[in-house]
């Protein structure tokens, strides 16, 4: 819509009608500093700080700085577009608190904020459709970008999923906004369209993929046979608490268990943040309580209680009606009366297509620069979840809607700048054979898939095995042997996929062949995730390897405590020296990932230890502060990054 406003004509392509995109599932809200939090000491800078601290400093800081500065303006814009944000009695927008912050920074529309934001944007796009600036191609599968001899992107090849016709779309700029890749994990909280195939096809064409190993596992999801449904963090934001019975698998109904026999492990361990610690920490703690402490509510599967029963029904209906209805619909139990059973599930990909930015001297983004959001392939941009830039090692709740709207709004003037000075002419000046050769290549590939004899393998069964392999090896807790085993298994599955028999070989709405293509493309991203995780021998954000964990300070003697804290900080510095780097993956000619590492711009906020709930955090923090002060005394420019 921003492109259309700048009078740039857009062909909009999507697997599903855009109104049915995965953002409808985002429940909780969207973060920004606001008038109220400002008076409590909040600022854009603190939102920026929370975001990079929550992300374990793995993000380049200028884009995050810019995003948090834009956040209040974005909420205002969405408000103007008619999003029914919840209101205070006086008619202002209401806010709630989300994980990883101490401020009520999250604006929300019931418990379907993502749906409401998406609909407002969809409505604006429809408005531009009615004026002819936007042409929608819904139900089309993006097969790959068209690159010219100089490696510049000149358009795309796509397939209409009904008559299975493959067509080329010449374009001067291509923006990929294709979301996450949760389907690689089989069942996740993501929608069925989130198969990562568009990103994967870009990577195969030469786009770099960054920080693939950083996959967020959401602490609270509802188990299901077809998918794992999210129970929004807002349930905890509104006062929901997580607990398990102190007696393992206590057979009593949860409400019959007296308070003294309930273990509120998050509040106990993290008194400041309580139930609202960042997601990676909540997830690991739940995992630990269930697996290592054996306190799972049920014996045969991992789950803990998420309890809302102490809150007023009226408040719950008004603020959380939508998500509670989901639990009720899918579990057949009313969470207002009975504590919910929840467990962790793959939820978000922090990693994604590598995209660039142009930094100003002050550490912000240069407005209208075509470098912003552009990948290493000129003319090809990435925005939204499929772009890696904003969340580092871990995303904070209610920051994803912000990053996706921000990157979309911010990229448009840069695209306009680029269109004004196209190198090598526009798409219309290109030789028709460029498009035809790319189209023919995809057509041949498609025909070959339909015609090949098939070796009896079933793509749906292989997908299940891929999901299990990835879920076991590359989620909450990772270890190198398991990752290596998973890597070998992936190669076996990839090979078997080439022997898949298609149960439908026709050319009309053939979902079978579309699924098989998407499955083949999942292996590239799976390899990138596993290789990245295997190589990264440290703990950072969502990437946790117990072997490289840094336990806190447990000595009682003050001198010994100090010594331990010094040693801890030394180790932390060494770890950052080695691993505070973006993982960059490209594919070689065999389709195997090649990893390299890129320094992270931490020039605005010096990295510091993430100490949520760490034993001895106070003394480590003290030692760390002293070191930072010494450093800044030695370097008066203040650049300690």
């Amino acid at each position: 819509m921003k492109l259309a406003e700048l009078e740039i004509d857009v062909d909009l392509m999507s697997l599903t009608p855009v109104k049915r995109s995965h953002s409808v599932c985002a429940q909780g809200g969207i973060n920004s500093v606001n008038d109220q939090t400002r008076q409590l000491g909040d600022s854009e800078y603190l939102h920026f700080d929370d975001t990079v601290y929550g992300g374990d400093f793995l993000q380049h800081q200028p884009p995050v700085d810019e995003m948090t500065l834009w956040a209040p303006k974005i909420i205002d814009l969405m408000d103007r577009l008619g999003v029914p944000f919840n209101r205070t009695p006086e008619g202002f927008r209401d806010q709630r608190r989300f994980g990883g912050t101490l401020f009520k920074r999250t604006a929300f529309a019931g418990a379907t904020t993502g749906q409401q934001l998406l609909y407002a944007l969809d409505e604006q796009v429809r408005r531009w459709e009615s004026t002819g600036h936007v042409t929608k191609y819904e139900g089309w599968d993006f097969l790959g970008p068209v690159l010219d001899a100089n490696g510049r992107c000149r358009g795309v090849i796509a397939q209409d999923l009904v008559p299975m016709e493959i067509r080329s779309f010449p374009a001067d700029a291509v923006l990929v906004a294709s979301g996450g890749c949760g389907l690689i994990y089989g069942k996740s909280t993501m929608s069925m369209a989130c198969n990562g195939s568009a990103a994967s096809r870009c990577v195969r064409a030469g786009v770099k993929y960054a920080n693939g190993e950083f996959i967020q596992v959401h602490p609270t999801a509802i188990p299901g046979a077809d998918k794992l449904r999210l129970m929004s963090e807002s349930a905890r934001g509104e006062g929901g608490c997580v607990w398990v019975p102190r007696t393992p698998q206590d057979p009593r109904p949860p409400l019959d268990i007296p308070e003294s026999e309930r273990y509120h492990f998050l509040e106990q361990r993290y008194p400041a943040y309580g139930n609202l610690v960042p997601r990676d920490i909540a997830t690991r703690k739940i995992f630990n309580v269930c697996v290592n402490e054996g306190l799972s509510v049920e014996g045969d599967r991992q789950c803990v209680y998420l309890d809302l029963t102490h809150l007023s029904r009226e408040m719950l209906d008004k603020k959380l009606g939508g998500i509670l209805a989901i639990y009720e619909k899918f579990q057949g139990v009313d969470p207002r009366d009975v504590p919910m059973k929840i467990f962790p599930a793959v939820h978000y990909a922090m990693g994604g297509l590598w995209a660039d930015y142009e930094r100003t001297a002050e550490g912000r983004l240069a407005p209208a620069s075509p470098t912003n959001q552009q990948t290493n392939v000129p003319g090809l941009f990435a925005i939204g979840e499929c772009d890696y830039q904003y969340h580092g090692g871990n995303r904070l709740g209610a920051n994803s809607l912000l990053s996706c709207i921000f990157s979309g709004l911010f990229v448009a003037p840069g695209v306009q700048t680029m269109l004004r000075s196209l190198s090598g002419g526009s798409a219309a000046d290109q030789d028709a054979s460029l498009y035809e050769s790319h189209r023919a290549q995809h057509q041949q590939e498609h025909d070959r898939l339909l015609r090949r004899p098939g070796g009896g393998e079933n793509p749906y069964v292989i997908h299940q095995q891929l999901g299990q392999t990835m879920t076991n090896a590359a989620t909450v807790v990772r270890n190198n042997q398991q990752l290596r085993d998973a890597r070998a298994k992936i190669e076996e599955l990839a090979e078997r996929t080439e022997n898949c028999s298609l149960s439908d070989t026709g050319n009309w709405t053939n979902q079978n062949v579309v699924f098989t293509k998407a499955l083949r493309d999942m292996f590239s991203l799976s390899r990138i995730i596993l290789d990245g995780a295997l190589a990264r021998d440290e703990c950072r954000g969502a990437h946790y390897k117990p072997e490289f964990d840094m336990p806190g300070v447990d000595a009682q003697d003050p001198a010994e405590r100090l010594r331990q804290a010094e040693a801890w900080c030394d180790k932390f510095e060494q770890k950052n020296e080695r691993w505070l780097k973006t993982t960059i993956a490209t594919l070689d000619s065999q389709g195997q990932p090649q990893l390299s590492y890129e320094d992270v711009d931490t020039s605005l906020i010096p990295p510091r230890p993430r100490l949520y709930g760490l034993v001895g955090a106070e003394v480590i923090e003290q030692v760390w502060k002293e070191r930072q002060e010494k450093k800044s005394a030695a370097d008066p420019s203040g650049n300690t990054g």
Binding site: R20, C25, R80, L230, I326
Partner: protein
């Protein structure tokens, strides 16, 4: 767990009957599939199993059943179909409950008010076009920074919110006696562009339906949207508009989001009448 589930309906597997159609204009036919019972199943997981096995109860190998789905949380509206004759989302159709009502089998049919593309997959672009007809958007000046939106009371928000939950699924239209299927045949040699022009024109003449009427009211209630209320009311009084509604009230009964569609329709009725009178006086 599975023994628990078995106890509920007394067998290890159940049968699913699917009304299939290979392509538009082709005859429809029934296929019967046996599905192994598992706990926590919904119709989506049943269809996933059928896709993965693709073998009917009499051992015939068939092409997998085609269907639409995306979010599986009943917020995207994609997987709407007729489950045991009732229009609803397949994702919230829980197998345990369906088998409790009818232990014999589960019956799946495509929606009848939209052209079938294949099997359970139907073409619902008419619904999105209807949103365009009633200009279901806020015509803001632009996307630059112009401060917050208008202040609104909690009561206004609470009135708007249920209407904004409409996911354009089509249940209300499937249940509506006045909403009839528009299915055009492509003329010989007609190009894609010509065919879609022909189709859009037919959609524009057809009944706009409850969902779009309700959206028109949503935007007419909004302090900014109100400024263009007249345009939306004009659309509602044009051919295929509000006057087609026969007040059967089926729409509100089947809406999965319990949107007060009949209230919207009644309010639209009053608003269009007032609008017409005002226009008459303004002549």
């Amino acid at each position: 767990m599975s023994s628990n589930g078995n106890a509920q309906h007394g067998c290890d597997s159940f049968e699913v009957r699917v009304l299939r159609q290979d392509a538009p204009g082709q005859p429809s036919y029934w296929c019967r599939y046996g599905v192994a019972y598992e706990p926590d199943m919904n119709v989506i997981s049943v269809l996933q199993k059928i896709a993965s096995e693709s073998t009917t109860t009499d051992g015939q190998h068939t092409a997998p059943v085609a269907w639409d789905c995306n979010c599986l949380e009943e917020v995207c509206g994609d997987c709407t179909m007729l489950v045991n004759g009732r229009t609803r989302q397949a994702c919230t159709a829980l197998v345990d409950r369906l088998l409790k009502d009818n232990p014999e089998e589960i019956e799946l049919r495509p929606m009848s008010k939209f052209p079938v593309v294949r099997d359970l997959l139907v073409e619902r672009s008419r619904m999105f076009a209807a949103l365009g007809r009633v200009k279901a958007w806020i015509p803001v000046d632009g996307y630059y920074e112009l401060g917050p939106g208008p202040r609104q009371s909690q009561a206004q928000q609470q009135q708007a919110y249920p209407l904004t939950e409409c996911m354009t699924c089509g249940c209300c239209l499937e249940a509506c006696p006045q909403y009839t299927r528009i299915e055009l045949e492509r003329r010989d040699g007609e190009s894609d562009a010509d065919f879609s022009t022909q189709r859009n024109a037919a959609h524009d003449r057809g009944f706009v339906g409850a969902a779009a009427i309700s959206q028109a009211m949503l935007f007419n209630d909004h302090p900014t949207g109100q400024m263009n209320a007249g345009e939306r009311l004009d659309a509602l009084t044009a051919e295929g508009g509000l006057q087609i509604c026969g007040n059967a009230q089926n729409c509100v009964a089947v809406c999965p989001k319990e949107i007060p569609l009949t209230t919207s329709i009644a309010r639209a009725g009053r608003a269009t009448t007032l609008h017409a009178i005002k226009q008459w006086f303004d002549r």
